[in-house]
Symmetry: C2
Subunit: 148 residues, 2 copies
Amino acid sequence: MHASDLAEEYPLVGLDTDALEAAQIMAKRRLPGLVVTDESGRPYAILPASQVVKFVVPRYIQADPSLAGVIDEPAADKIAAQLSGKRVRDLLPDNPHELPTVNADDTMLELAAIMARMRSPLVAVLSDDRIVGVVTASRLLSLICATP
Amino acid sequence: MHASDLAEEYPLVGLDTDALEAAQIMAKRRLPGLVVTDESGRPYAILPASQVVKFVVPRYIQADPSLAGVIDEPAADKIAAQLSGKRVRDLLPDNPHELPTVNADDTMLELAAIMARMRSPLVAVLSDDRIVGVVTASRLLSLICATP
């Protein structure tokens, strides 16, 4: 079995995609993260949903979460406003999660080996440097551990 | 809004749950990870799907994924057989991913702060030390970034 047989459609965002739009894609599709491509459409990084949460929570509250219990909780739209005017590149940490890649004609075992080695929840499948799909760890397990 | 309002049903497995069964739950529900509880039912750790993949891929291939391209690929059931007779505790790494917890009456902002600080994709919501549900980062974003 080849990587191209495993790849599924997965939302891609660019470094300049609107931050709120990216958050809404993750929210709507209940994804733990998005694949981020660079200006040329090449794989760049993974943006975890928890990183977006990190971006919208004030730093003094991250430093001491118990403070959140004693202040008036801001309305959801006020929290989301932190994303206004920001782009995906602003949300990424300094050392973003690397997005492992395989070629479309690599085998399932090669893909699994790369996922395992990088402990990555996602691997992007490339053909001619373009992303043709993504394989998640749970997708791979569904093929390995199929119930009869 | 309180953590208990955000919590959703999420599959829990125990340290002694059969490893193949745990993998099949992740596969079937396409989850990036499972919540693992200890013998008393208390939150113990997160088992990422990529960790299960790591467990089934032979070490010499993880060390050099290109080897996977030159050997005959084992059948899926032979790969899955690595999980046979194993339990969830065997799959967890030595330093498993910590599962952050909040109390049912903590606020959404407290929950977000803990998720942000620990960069965790999941937070378990407790009442009397029992897990009453789980909040994923994407669930939280769906509340924060709701489209009108």
